[in-house]
């Protein structure tokens, strides 16, 4: 299994993923032109250092024969700086004092503020692992972890391409009927469209309707029904493992939620992210005598150039400043004897 930047020829495979993920996966709408533009933008981003760069990676099952579309196991991405093209909105939960010595009253009320505080932050996003590569049979391949953490290796390797902070938006809580109580209590009262369409437009970057239609004055959360308040900062049950992994990397909920489903944004200073703080460099030593360990414990990534970025699991860690690779592993990562690799024990 190998992480590499998306290529133009991945378009059909990516479209299949978009169909699979459905409308809930905001950033990957089922729209060929949009996806083709996205791939173009990602290719250009690798080459240059566009401010609004998008780094988009795919997980390829290089053991799997057949068509490219059959080998693509998932994807993940990093936006270098959100909110530069179109406003990036959140509700921020703030505390307002409600206080009166006359009434002997002193408390604070949680209040939602429409804001764009994260403008300019990096975002890790678009993580998806396709069904055939999930589940108990694949537990040992740790594909999800690979998709999630490979991004930190990329950011560690090309740190100057990223700003001070990084965030991830988590899908919010939905009820058993697939409805978002937060949306029903808030967004629906102001937007004449369905949740899916609002979510879709946002995914396409067409967000001007938010500033025009959504309430721009602060809202005390106590005015929302309990069912909606229970969604604030809470994730979809399927999103819990992803949240747990980001939390382990030091990303925290700091009071910013999604406008539509109330799901949390987690965030950190990039230099504080555990996986970034703990990556180290090592030099490749080819050695076809090394054994493959049962459980992949070390993530390895190339650090020479963004276009040549590759990441994969290794069954062993470095010894001193060296990391021993089998020729097969070296080929997968496209590195040669003496090249440098970034490594993360995880």
């Amino acid at each position: 299994m190998l992480i590499r930047p998306v290529e133009t020829a991945d378009i059909d495979a990516l479209r299949e993923i978009a169909v699979e993920t459905g409308p809930g996966f905001t950033s990957l709408p089922d729209n060929r032109d949009f996806l083709a533009d996205k791939i173009d933008h990602a290719r250009q981003s690798l080459a240059g250092e566009a401010e609004d760069a998008l780094y988009f990676f795919v997980l390829e099952d290089d053991q799997q024969p057949g068509e490219r579309a059959e080998r693509l196991a998932g994807c993940c991405a990093i936006e270098a700086r959100v909110g530069l093209d179109a406003p990036f909105y959140h509700y921020r939960i703030g505390q307002l004092a409600h206080s009166s010595s006359r009434l002997g009253l002193h408390r604070t009320l949680d209040t939602l503020f429409l804001c764009s505080d994260h403008t300019g932050s990096a975002e890790v996003c678009s993580l998806y692992l396709r069904e055939p590569w999930r589940g108990a049979a694949h537990r040992n391949s740790r594909n999800g972890t690979l998709l999630s953490r490979a991004r930190w290796l990329f950011m560690a390797a090309f740190r100057s391409r990223f700003p001070e902070r990084v965030l991830a938006e988590m899908r919010g809580r939905f009820d058993d009927d697939g409805k978002s109580p937060f949306w029903e209590a808030l967004g629906q009262k102001f937007l004449p469209i369905e949740f899916q369409r609002a979510d879709h437009l946002t995914g396409m970057g067409e967000k001007s309707f938010i500033g025009e239609m959504m309430p721009r004055h602060p809202i005390c959360t106590s005015f929302l029904p309990q069912s909606a308040r229970d969604c604030i900062g809470q994730v979809h049950h399927q999103t819990r493992p992803a949240l747990a992994m980001l939390n382990r990397d030091g990303l925290r909920f700091e009071g910013y939620i999604d406008l539509f489903d109330g799901g949390p944004t987690v965030e950190a200073y990039i230099d504080d992210v555990h996986s970034i703080r703990h990556t180290r460099s090592a030099r490749v030593r080819l050695d076809d005598s090394v054994e493959r360990a049962a459980r992949p414990a070390w993530l390895a990534a190339t650090a020479s150039s963004p276009t040549a970025f590759r990441a994969a699991w290794l069954g062993r860690g470095p010894e001193g400043d060296d990391i021993r690779l089998t020729p097969e592993e070296a080929q997968r990562l496209q590195v040669a004897e003496g090249d440098s690799l970034r490594l993360l024990e995880t």
């Binding site: 409600h98 009434l103 009253l105 209590a185 001007s208 025009e212 239609m213 005390c220 005015f223």
Partner: protein, 343 residues
Amino acid sequence: MTLLARSATLDDLDALLALAQDASPALTNLPPDRERLAARLESSSRAFQSEATAPEDVALTLVVEDDDGEVLGTATLKPLAGGREVYYTYRRETLIHASQQLDVRREVDILSISHEMSHATLLCALATRRDHPARGEIKRLLRAARLALVAAVPERFAPLLFVALPGYQSGGRSPFWEGVGRHFFSREFEEVHRAASLGSKSFIGEVMPPFPLYQPLLDDAARDAIGRVHPLHSEALEGWQREGFTPSRHVDLLDGGPLLEAGRDHLPRPRRCPARLRDQPAERGEGEMLLASQRDGGFRALLSTGATLDEQGRCVVDAGRAQRLGVDNDTPLLVLERRECAC
């Protein structure tokens, strides 16, 4: 029986206190507090005797008495509703949310906290003896007499007059309070109401958020109560509407009750003419008139269906009423023809 409205004096203190204690729901502007009421009566008497030419921060209080001089009701005018303080209301506004992208336009109703009414004249603190058979008449006279006072000395009142009626309640609770105020005050309605009636209201500015409320986010019961009158006060609502008052954009901050407003200068103007006494009680004529006299720093007013104007432009009034008004032949009277307002 002829009801007479007159400016109150300190002698009315006991009666006023009894009325205040009897009022239900309690009146923000008529606290059952002997000292405060005494102070109000004193400053009111002084104000009636003064020759102010601009609205002052002094409440003017009237009482209604029967033939025996027994006080049956009271009402007050605050020339400046806010006084040194602020008179807070919610102002109903409509935001327009329009999106070219979605090609839609929506009107979103909000409630904005407002100070606008601080500078207007408030007619308030109307109370009557609960058990009195003529309650309706007493209230009608108090409404008319206050407007007559404004018409008599308009320069002492603001260009805009308003009255705040108690808001809708159901089962003894205010749904507007439950859905709005409680969030901010985390106190019982009565407690906040009491605090608001005793002195400074600046705490409201500290506790209430400065942002407007979105009506679509209120619960149905609270939203339905916006601008809706307390069931026991629907008659008062109609009474004020007959006097030419219309619902304003404003509602009470705490219970959502309606504020009715009227332009001071759109009130019927009184005619000033000398009284002409006659011995016989008047026949019950066609048109009702309000007769008022201003003498010796006092104000008196009564409703009469028998009064007419003679050819010399004098107002013919029977001796009994003349005595109640404290007028003699040729004493100037204010005469207001009463009419249902068509506004």
